[in-house]
Symmetry: C2
Subunit: 253 residues, 2 copies
Amino acid sequence: MQIVFYLLLKIALERQMTDTGKARKIKLFQELKTDILTLGLQPGADLDEASLSERHGLSRTPLREVLRELAGEGYVELRDNRGARVSDMSFTTLREFFQAAPMIYGAILQLAALNRTQAQIDELKSAQNDFVSALRKGSVAERTLANNRFHELTGEMAGNVYLLPSFKRLLIDHARIGMTFYRPMNNEMADKLSEASLQHDAIISAIEAMDDQQAVELAEKHWNLSRGQIELFVTPSGIEASLGSVSRPPKTA
Amino acid sequence: MQIVFYLLLKIALERQMTDTGKARKIKLFQELKTDILTLGLQPGADLDEASLSERHGLSRTPLREVLRELAGEGYVELRDNRGARVSDMSFTTLREFFQAAPMIYGAILQLAALNRTQAQIDELKSAQNDFVSALRKGSVAERTLANNRFHELTGEMAGNVYLLPSFKRLLIDHARIGMTFYRPMNNEMADKLSEASLQHDAIISAIEAMDDQQAVELAEKHWNLSRGQIELFVTPSGIEASLGSVSRPPKTA
DNA sequence: AAAATACAATTTGCATACAATAGAAATTTC
DNA sequence: GAAATTTCTATTGTATGCAAATTGTATTTT
């Protein structure tokens, strides 16, 4: 009987430590982020407050605050008297993405090389290890998240509060676009993935050596590789069979 | 007697139209923004939820949501279990500001020239009119806000969701720094203000002509002018009197 | 008297209840 | 039967009360 009480007490204490309101809030925050980054929640998807709050054991008040914070970082969009929805992507935004990314990425890596601390270097190396093992044996989502984490760290290293908002916004959509091309469909795409990993190593070296010019060059190379991956996915080599061989459902209505 | 009832009804209806919850929320949002931009609320100032909500006739729940949104745009910072405070500025952030601003400003004006619509041009001209009249007969805060509005419009013209977050963040601190140098203390500073106004006109012309290269050049010139104004304020010409002539209070404690 | 601790007051965080709004469904009108 | 209007339902927005946490103050201890 005493043991039962002891167990109950222990559970209660652990609950207080690990499952307090704040912890649930942070957990929800992270889960929504990763779900959005990995397309578990697709662009444009509606987020229902009631079901979300119930599913995560939070009342709607703190949930709504989480949604506001996510909106601030660009993960979701809020519509008046309508639900929140996952930030949308379109041809237009894709074009804007290609316009903005090279410049910001270059600036971030340059500043990272100039401002990094040793502790940050160690973190970056650790993140790169995770990325490599994700490439070897991880899922598409794990690869995307590991790559995202690597670049987030370079953003922290740059340590410029004015550049960071745009950089983070870019990383969100880079991850979502990447969810397609981190699913290699032929040898060419797989090769580019390992090349990306090698570039990460080079980026780490440049940053550690505080060689900002080298960092800028690597940023451009890394961006071009990424760009090539996207193009490979968007414009694949043509299908050999004629279109007539694709079965179509008969017209019924 | 009937007239009294009519008036009461009218007031009630108007109240519903103009002073509904949402309107109060938007108003609070705007007021906090302008107060922060014009240093009515100084960097680092604590924001008390209770007094703010009472003063604006809103309960704490929507107020807290407003604070979250302001935090997302970089106006305030939220600390756990502590109050929100106005985003701080320091030597470090000032340095970061000078690093990031030229690049972003150039990119924004270039894209503005490429993407602007005629309606936006008209708005920009109107904003420039307001700026000119603020220079002639407005307060320091009015000048700052008018200048801020002008540049916000160029940001809208650029229409790039990835660049906008950083640009807006820069504008916040540019306005706050500007609150010092839009208080001209000698002829040299006053001259630079009218020069800024002329540059605005040139910027409008370049954007209207969709001359993006010209827009980039003007962005650099405009930035250099702004930089010069800041330097004039930070490092003024020395005081002629000797330090000994400055009266000091006698040591009492 | 200085440091540490306990307590009280203030402030933030969360849950619930209620109000307002938007979208869908049903009814009426032509 | 189609269009417009009204009613209803589902969902978002706000207010209030209470719980948790922080900070400042008073008390105790050394």
